[in-house]
């Protein structure tokens, strides 16, 4: 799926996109970053088929597209599961299958809203979870998520990171938290003034699929009580960048980070964030 030469002008006359080209990767996530007002949401709306651009082509769009807009708690009187059934039907997928998948996903994301309550009365987090599940449960050929980590608590955010990390199908994400850039193999693109910045722009260089030798990951963790005894005795060695009661940050080599995270989770800690360490100086890479 590709976006070719997308121009878009809003009815108000505001120019949002000026010739954006974007290839959505077939397996790894495609991450679009950029400052506020760069046109990220407009680009995603076009990719999702919710908006027809003023000029340009959306090529090879799949039949089923899962889309989560940036502003989503919808004020509806309908209970969430009724709405999920309706959306599955609009997608043209089997309603019972989609409902089964939706149940699993809702549980994984830690959804705890009332089934009979109108959607408009759900908490922000629960409404966001329903929105995410709506996009994920239809088994989409393309997943378009606009700031999906917004409004989620730590556990739901981690569950979403796991879900997206395990997905091996076209995925287009914008994200200002930096979590998406840490997804395995994620390709970063930078949107600036309505265009995807050229590769000469240092910020837009796509991340290589495998971390370069010597790459480090910064793990921000939460735990119960004082983390020091845990770090000294229980967990594998790591460079501790900061520790406070209930929270600590460590730096570990990228290839070891999964094993380290598993050990920390087994020790009862929770993951707050996992990000690659950006090295400013090239000698750090050695």
């Amino acid at each position: 799926m590709r976006l070719v030469g997308i121009h878009h002008t809003h009815p108000s006359g505001t120019v949002a996109l000026r010739g954006a080209d974007l290839d959505v990767e077939p397996v790894v996530p495609t991450v679009v970053r950029g400052p506020n007002g760069a046109g990220k949401s407009t680009l995603l709306r076009i990719a999702a088929g919710a908006l027809v651009p003023t000029a340009g082509e959306v090529e090879d769009a799949p039949a089923v597209v899962g889309y989560l807009p940036d502003r989503f708690p919808a004020a509806r009187k309908m209970p969430p599961r009724r709405w999920l059934d309706h959306v599955a039907r609009v997608h043209g997928v089997d309603v019972d299958d989609a409902a089964d998948r939706a149940d699993e996903l809702l549980e994984e994301l830690g959804y705890d809203g009332d089934d009979d309550e109108p959607m408009g009365e759900l908490s922000t987090g629960n409404a966001r979870k329903v929105g995410l599940v709506q996009a994920l449960s239809c088994d989409p050929g393309l997943l378009v998520l606009d700031e999906p980590w917004n409004g989620l608590d730590d556990e739901a955010a981690d569950a979403l990171t796991r879900l997206l990390g395990a997905r091996a199908a076209p995925t287009l994400v914008t994200d200002h938290t930096g979590t998406a850039a840490g997804l395995p193999g994620a390709r970063l693109h930078r949107l600036r003034e309505g265009r995807i910045a050229a590769t000469t722009d240092p910020d837009s260089v796509p991340l290589p699929a495998a971390p370069p030798p010597g790459a480090m990951m910064r793990l921000d963790m939460a735990c119960a009580g004082d983390p020091r005894p845990l770090l000294e005795r229980v967990l594998p060695p790591a460079r501790v960048e900061g520790a406070a009661p209930g929270r600590f940050t460590v730096r570990v080599p990228a290839p070891d980070s999964d094993a380290w995270l598993a050990a920390a989770l087994a020790a009862g800690c929770a993951v707050r964030s996992v990000r690659p360490v950006r090295s400013a100086r090239p000698e750090d890479r050695r």
Binding site: T54, R76, H86
Partner: protein, 237 residues
């Protein structure tokens, strides 16, 4: 094509339930039932004359219903529906389908109420004419309502005024198919293009309305829109 039709039906169900739960259908439905009570409450004349008024009233009521359906979702929720449906076509068609289902129920109510109130005056032919006339008026109204709402009109005021002008002007011309001729045929027995002809014209109007809405959603008429906005701005000066 089959997928689009299925998506349109699904959108109609989604919007229909939304309007049902938000009770935005209550005002037009109660208004219609109230007028029916007045029409058929006293001693209505022999059928099908009383149906002329109830069919004609279904014209604005259908527009009201379609407008409520087109505007029931907020803009962000609507992007999800548009994306899930795979484009504007099933959404525009879904609005019209749901509105047609609504006017079909109200039209059936009017026909049945008329038969009971003026017992023994209905013939098989007039019954069929009555049913078709209600459907024709309601469906044409739905087409008008679908055009005078989002995405063609983004502001409520111009949409309301525009819809009222079109409804009054086209609804009062007894020579104009489909609504004028359908209502006039019931009232005075004059035949325009015939009940089935009216239905064909109403279907064409509905298809034209969906096409217009889809074209606007796709930005096809942006140039015309800019010209009109520019003209209005100059008139205001």
């Amino acid at each position: 094509m089959r997928r689009r039709v299925r998506a349109a039906l699904a959108v109609a169900m989604l919007l229909g339930e939304d309007v049902g739960r938000t009770e935005k259908f209550v005002a037009p439905a109660v208004l219609y039932a109230g007028v029916l009570a007045v029409l058929f409450g006293g001693a209505p004349g022999p059928l099908p004359e009383p149906w002329a008024a109830s069919a004609l009233l279904l014209y604005p009521v259908g527009a009201w219903l379609a407008h409520a359906l087109a505007e029931t979702e907020d803009d962000d929720a609507r992007t999800v529906t548009l994306s899930a449906a795979g484009g504007p076509w099933p959404v525009a068609a879904g609005v019209l389908l749901a509105a047609t289902a609504g006017v079909a129920v109200l039209g059936l109510l009017a026909v049945v109420w008329g038969v009971i109130a003026a017992w023994g005056t209905a013939t098989t032919g007039s019954l069929l004419d009555g049913l078709l006339a209600h459907l024709v008026c309601g469906m044409t109204g739905a087409a008008v309502g679908a055009v005078f709402s989002r995405p063609v009109f983004r502001n409520e005021g111009p949409a309301l005024i525009g819809a009222l002008v079109v409804l009054v002007v086209t609804g009062t011309q007894s020579w104009l198919p489909p609504v004028g001729t359908a209502a006039a045929a019931l009232g005075s027995g004059r035949l325009g293009v015939g009940p089935l002809g009216d239905l064909v014209v109403a279907l064409l109007v509905a298809v034209a309305a969906v096409t217009l809405v889809v074209r606007v959603e796709q930005g096809g008429l942006r140039a015309a829109g800019h010209r009109i906005t520019g003209l209005l701005a100059r008139l205001r000066r």
